[in-house]
């Protein structure tokens, strides 16, 4: 490996490289090698973790060699995105921008163009960082993750897919193959706000997705989901904050209250990107902003 410019902390990982041509093959290899194997798609998280010595797989299984897993389909039920769809494909898909703009918007806020050109939705979700930007918007839409393993296929609510930092709910031999988002009810709109705002590359210090469904008059909030990222071990629903505004007439005081409660539901850590108290304060700011913007565009 070219060592120009590298710090001495970089490892130079060696591994056996395998290619999967089908999902079944990937599952079979995962079953065989278990926790000694990792799947690679875009590699934008995996290779960085490997170089930092955080992950040390003996086997790296390329799944970019599986064809037809990068689709973006829409039908009467809703949206289905193949796990290997790249973030670039998602952010620029006319279908997603038109019908599920919050998904295109969150994909756009990840990394840089170079990262988005190879990074995949499956990778972002299975890397399962607490700050994963695709998670809050998709959870806000009630999305499901379709998994395939040696025992067959199953669907898991995305809200249940994260069990801890870096821990997706995958059994040995299982692979994420699709994300499904049902058509939302009419007068529904969602907004994802991320701090830092409009700065490329950075992970989210705080991420808030607010999805609201209004009544036909646009005066009452029929339903809502508020999802927080980067402020807990996994992306979390701010259910108590939701309860403050669900079923109520739109009222700025209530939105303020919901934002305050969301900040209390957040359980952030302090790290190099921000202190816990700063993150809690920013949850309040972003929640207020996201709810307001979602209402304005619903």
């Amino acid at each position: 490996m070219n060592t120009a410019g590298l710090g001495s902390q970089w490892r130079h990982p060696k591994f056996e490289y395998l290619e999967a041509r089908t999902v079944e093959e990937a599952c079979s290899l995962l079953s065989q090698y278990k926790d000694k194997a990792k799947l690679i798609a875009g590699g934008t998280d995996l290779l960085v973790s490997m170089r930092r010595g955080k992950i040390t797989p003996l086997y790296v299984i390329n799944v970019k060699t599986i064809p037809n897993l990068d689709y973006i389909h829409y039908d009467g039920d809703g949206l289905r995105i193949g796990a290997l769809a790249t973030l670039s494909e998602i952010e620029s898909s006319p279908l997603i921008r038109d019908r599920f703009p919050i998904i295109a918007d969150s994909a756009h806020q990840i990394g840089t163009p170079q990262v988005r050109n190879v990074g995949t939705i499956g990778g972002n979700l299975c890397n399962a960082a607490p700050s994963a930007d695709m998670a809050p918007p998709l959870i806000g839409l009630g999305a499901k993750a379709k998994l395939k393993g040696p025992k067959g296929e199953r669907a898991v609510a995305l809200e249940e897919f994260f069990t801890g930092p870096g821990e997706p709910r995958l059994q040995i031999g299982e692979m994420l193959i699709e994300i499904q988002a049902s058509n939302p009810p009419p007068h529904t709109q969602g907004i994802y706000l991320k701090l830092p705002a409009r700065t490329a590359i950075d992970l989210a210090v705080v991420g808030v997705a607010a999805v609201v469904t209004l009544d036909t008059k646009g005066a009452n909030i029929v339903d809502t989901k508020i999802v927080l990222g980067a402020v807990a071990p996994t992306p979390i629903r701010a259910r108590q904050a939701e309860n403050v505004i669900r079923g109520k007439t739109i009222n700025d005081g209530l939105i303020e209250e919901a934002a305050q409660i969301a900040a209390e539901e957040a359980k952030p850590i302090s790290d190099v990107r921000g202190s816990a108290s700063y993150r809690k304060e920013m949850v309040k700011v972003l929640t207020k902003g996201a709810i307001r913007q979602a209402i304005a565009s619903a």
């Binding site: 490996m1 290619e19 590699g43 840089t112 163009p113 990262v115 050109n117 190879v118 590359i201």
Partner: protein
């Protein structure tokens, strides 16, 4: 454990024989000799290693060599045409968009990827397209000017 990888680089077919943990960056610099591709952070944050893979800007430090099998790669060495400098290269020179030059190959390739798809971008679109390429010298103003100058020249 080395394996054969066939790819096309700057229009020419290439065949290399490398360990699978080598990256496209390693292959382009060390095996094929295109040292215009720079090694910066090796973690996908600086963009110095940017190349075009099938027309898309990619951090070559994050692509394993076997993942480049069958791909068409353009490095900065492949941007110049038969008739001379590419308009982007010419504009970078004319607008003083190059100081130390280390970010320049990546910048030009990211800009080329943008203009190939969107010949008349707004300034915002240019800045978004270049947001994965860091420059420590210029402060970006001249770089953005150079790209916009090319986009305004028309087809």
């Amino acid at each position: 454990m080395k394996q054969k990888i066939k790819l096309k680089v700057n229009g020419a077919p290439c065949e290399v024989f490398v360990e699978p943990w080598k990256t496209l960056l390693d292959v382009l610099r060390d095996e094929i000799g295109f040292t215009g591709v720079k090694s910066g952070c090796e973690e996908g944050e600086c963009g110095a290693c940017t190349v075009l893979v099938d027309g898309k800007a990619v951090n070559s430090c994050l692509m394993l060599a076997p993942q480049a099998q069958g791909k068409e790669i353009i490095t900065i060495e492949g941007v110049e045409g038969e008739e001379g400098l590419h308009p982007l290269q010419q504009a970078f020179v004319e607008h003083f968009a190059v100081q130390c030059g280390f970010c320049t190959p990546g910048m030009i390739l990211s800009a080329k990827a943008l203009l190939d798809k969107n010949p008349h971008p707004t300034e915002e679109e240019v800045r978004v397209a270049l947001c994965g390429n860091l420059c420590r010298c210029t402060g970006y103003v001249k770089i953005v000017e150079a790209v916009l100058a090319v986009s305004k020249k028309g087809d």
